[in-house]
Homo-oligomer: 258 residues x 2
């Protein structure tokens, strides 16, 4: 393991650089090495793995309380990681951590999540990367338990590394640390968001919609899933792959006789 | 197979409703069934699987030349699919097709692609879904070969269905149809975008960046990959999974002894 002084850690998120969750994550990171923060200037929840192809990207240096370099980025979480790696930093970081997200990124939420997008971008660049999320959307969420478990997991990552082209999706139940049963390695729960659109009329008489919805778990009894772990007071870890190929479907498609 | 008159097909894209690629795809869809179009009003390339959580969504009915219902959506490609399924349509479509994208979505580009995001959203809703992309970024791209192969693939999809929670990522080389060797079922190529940031100063003296980059193929010799297929004049099909779990890493993580 590299000495603490030699380690470089990049911190980002999708709730924006002013969110409480990233402030807590920066403090955790500072216990493990030198830290640079590049995070979206505004909230970017639901931005998935998106990049700014048609918008210019602005970067702003933020004055922080201590010596940690902090930059806000006008783009997405993935833009933030890209500009950090390819413009801000002169060396490859030893770890990228994203979060702590205000709200769950378990099950299919991982697909929509900017927190996980940023972590996956790290793993595409062969950098061990972890997204952390607490199951509490409140801006004033209590991250006490998250801090304890994030530290444990980061220690393990420095000990073991993470296999290439994989990042970790960590979700933490919103309960007191004494109630947490431990850390559970899981697979992504099968489920989906059942959508509703909240229909409104704006002051100029134009109709518009807010996307809203409720998560539906297709397999609430499956004990190897992240939703089951969280329901049962475990911290969940799902290893996430950058290869989207459905290998089990390859053979079936080959029978189509094109 | 359902009768043509009974089939409903949803068409979307990420280049926006005015792009040439979606106009061609609508014409293809009309040969297979009743068609409804819900597509972004503006270009949404690189929007991945993002959703508008903090922005209202506007929907606008477009007058088309024939009877096909067309709507532009102010949101992302995935927003377009969601609002189509949950607000515009009264019945579940039999197929969702997204594209034809102006430019490749092979290898890791699938992760960044709004075209593929929209198709994956379809598969999350258990609707057979296909993203089509032509390897030509030009707004005036020639879709002649794409049309022939898209029709072949859609026929096969109606014949065979697509396994649940999987969508198809189809890429078409930018060559004459007579030069195309056929259709090849592939896995996603290991690779990444090697980024550069083009650094500029705006008229108000503020510095900004454009994201730019070059694709780097880590395994150009692997004949089972989509990049190899395209290089060798095949149409590539990669089945894409909504489950992001890296199953081969699960065991390794379980050895970490949390």
């Amino acid at each position: 393991m590299k000495d603490k002084e030699k380690r470089l850690i990049l911190v980002t998120n999708d709730d924006g650089i002013d969110a409480k969750g990233i402030k807590e994550l920066i403090k955790i990171a500072e216990k493990f090495g030198r830290v640079v923060v590049v995070a979206p200037e505004k909230g970017q929840s639901g931005m998935s793995h998106s990049v700014s192809l048609n918008e210019p990207i602005y970067l702003k240096k933020i004055t922080s309380n201590n010596n940690t370099l902090q930059y806000s980025c006008s783009g997405t979480p993935v833009d933030s990681v890209k500009i950090a790696l390819h413009h801000v930093l002169d060396e490859k970081p030893d770890l990228i951590i994203s979060g702590i997200n205000h709200g769950s990124n378990a099950s299919v939420s991982a697909i929509y999540s900017g927190t996980i997008g940023a972590a996956r971008e790290g793993s595409l660049n062969d950098i061990p990367s972890v997204g952390f999320s607490l199951l509490d959307h409140s801006p004033e969420a209590d991250f006490t338990a998250s801090i304890i478990f994030a530290e444990k997991i980061i220690e393990k990552v420095f000990e073991n590394g993470i296999p290439k082209r994989t990042c970790l999706n960590v979700n933490i139940p919103n309960i007191h640390e004494n109630q947490i049963n431990g850390i559970k390695v899981c697979r992504q729960t099968k489920g989906k968001w059942v959508e509703e659109f909240n229909h409104r009329i704006n002051p100029n008489n134009k109709e518009y919609f807010w996307l809203t919805g409720k998560f539906s778990n297709f397999e609430p009894e499956s004990k190897d899933t992240d939703e089951w772990a969280l329901e049962n007071n475990y911290v969940s870890i799902v290893p996430i792959e950058v290869d989207l190929t459905s290998y089990k479907v390859l053979d079936e498609l080959n029978k189509w006789n094109f």
